[in-house]
Symmetry: C2
Subunit: 165 residues, 2 copies
Amino acid sequence: MVRLNEVRAGELAVDLPARADAEIYFIGRIRTPWTSRLECPRQGRADGPTCRIELFAPWDKGLDHIAEFQRLEVLYWLHESRRDLALQSPRSDGQARGVFSLRTPVWPNPIGTSIVQLVRIEGATLSVRGLDCLDGTPLVDLKPDRTLFEPLAPAQAGDFQVGDA
Amino acid sequence: MVRLNEVRAGELAVDLPARADAEIYFIGRIRTPWTSRLECPRQGRADGPTCRIELFAPWDKGLDHIAEFQRLEVLYWLHESRRDLALQSPRSDGQARGVFSLRTPVWPNPIGTSIVQLVRIEGATLSVRGLDCLDGTPLVDLKPDRTLFEPLAPAQAGDFQVGDA
């Protein structure tokens, strides 16, 4: 069962900082078939339903050349998630684990990331497959899938540095 | 050459929104060998130098069970980046492309993502390889690499849904 707002046995809620450190702009909205967190997939699938990513102006101008990439990385804001759990119990069985060892919607900064297949672009709207989030989820960022991207700018010193470990 | 603060020929700077929509807590700090953006790699490499991710309390408690994963996804805040470019010219040659078709540090929400190899954990500090960011970069999130993670919670209806396209 998905968490609505409860703290479960074994979980650890911490005090959130009094002040935030940085600010996010919502640059678009995601449309999916899932209107309740009780229906959302635990993980997106490449053959899942086609979802829409609608960019707000003026950020739609940033879509230029995006059609070159078959897969995109999408970052979105999990706006219904609580943010204060350091330990979580995904099975609600009293066994808790650190938040950073889980891919759940609950994190101090609730940013989900998915790799999606780009199906179609119409104006400021992308159709994609592979998402797992709620209908109406705010969009935070879009990037080419890292495995498809070659930097266009010239390399820098750090690109050639290897470690000794 | 890395952008310091200039807008290059062909680029499009837009007005940023007057108000932000959400807030980020910095949950730690990243230590790398690169103290200037003119040295940072364009992309991290799996055999690159060992870097450190230092978690701030109380978020270090969230590291519990993270040692189970050989690779992690790291989200970080590219704190020196300008945020207002919708079109960018990575080669500074007058040819511009949409921000979302590039993996550069400049985005409306400047959040970098890397997949890193977990080398070692000592208290609240992870040693990892594969980062590309500046020394002192604020940490936003950590998750298991998606290809290594199996949800612990029971599946939901959406997990079985496939599309018709």
